[in-house]
């Protein structure tokens, strides 16, 4: 495992948080990228809950999976749950972590509930990332 690509649909919340967390855990030892099939923009709640961990996502942008050179990736981790994850061509090892999308357009959810959903997703991703370091 020398370079990881995190994929979800929008490259807005889960794969962005995973990118930030992986950099923080593995340092420069591992090249870390993220992308989505329909890139949008980095979710403000993701920025907020990552800031709680001392990780800055404000310089991140959402990128299309088509901009990623398959030759630069040896491990692909897809983070979609119900949605259809983007397809990535190439010889990379594929790992699937079904993580529920913390983003929601449900108007009944309060700000605090939204923050909580993002914290849960962040912590699930971090737990799985740590376990990548075990063999």
């Amino acid at each position: 495992m020398k370079s990881i690509l995190f994929l979800c649909v929008a490259n807005s919340a889960r794969s962005q948080m995973a990118e930030g967390l992986a950099r923080n855990l593995f340092g420069d030892r591992v090249r870390v990228q993220s992308a989505g099939s329909e890139p949008s923009k980095v979710n403000p709640y993701a920025i907020e809950v990552m800031r709680e961990k001392g990780i800055d996502l404000t310089t991140h942008t959402s990128k299309s999976v088509q901009t990623i050179d398959p030759a630069t990736v040896d491990t692909v981790i897809t983070l979609c749950a119900e949605e259809v994850c983007p397809v990535f061509l190439g010889k990379a090892t594929r790992i699937h972590w079904p993580i529920d999308d913390p983003a929601s357009s449900d108007p009944a959810l309060t700000r605090e509930q939204m923050i909580q959903r993002f914290r849960v997703a962040r912590d699930r991703i971090e737990e799985r990332l740590k376990n990548l370091a075990l063999s």
Binding site: M1, L25, F26, G27, R29, V30, K130, A133, L134, S135
Partner: protein, 146 residues
């Protein structure tokens, strides 16, 4: 390997509480200045008191040793010539990897002291046995590589 280069060795296990601490201390003693030696664990815990006592009996003080986590070392960008995993392969115990490195990885299986059973005396005896088998493995390895 050039003779004037120090050989960088990292011992890793789950908690950096006993096995990897013992191995680090013994290699430092036996290998001397040819080696720089560190140890780390996946989830660092307090150094095992039986390990401290067993090493003290062998004339090596590890009472002041601090457990380190592998993620600290990843972040620090540390590089090693050898990463030696000392987790128990017999029970399928998982051990940290060191990603993105050119190090040579060695797997030396030793029993996990947290699984030792019996009285404190019995557990201590098992620790002495563990210390001696780690020392024997290191002695063999030093012969192999030098």
């Amino acid at each position: 390997m050039k003779h004037n280069d120090q050989i960088r060795v990292l011992f890793i296990c789950n908690e950096n509480a006993a096995r990897s601490q013992i191995a680090e201390a013994i290699l430092k003693q036996l290998g001397g200045e040819r080696f720089t030696v560190e140890s780390a664990g996946f989830e660092p815990g307090p150094v095992n008191p039986h390990a401290v006592r067993a090493m003290h009996e062998a004339g090596i003080d590890i009472a002041g040793a601090k457990s380190k986590g592998v993620f600290e070392l990843y972040r620090a960008g540390r590089a090693y010539d050898f990463v030696v995993a000392v987790c128990d392969k017999v029970t399928g115990e998982k051990c940290p990897i060191f990603p993105g490195m050119r190090s040579q990885r060695l797997d030396w299986s030793f029993p996990d002291p947290t699984t030792f059973v019996g009285s404190e005396t019995a557990k201590y005896d098992q620790m002495l046995e563990l210390r001696d088998s780690i020392r024997a493995r290191i002695v063999d390895w030093l012969v192999e590589i030098t």
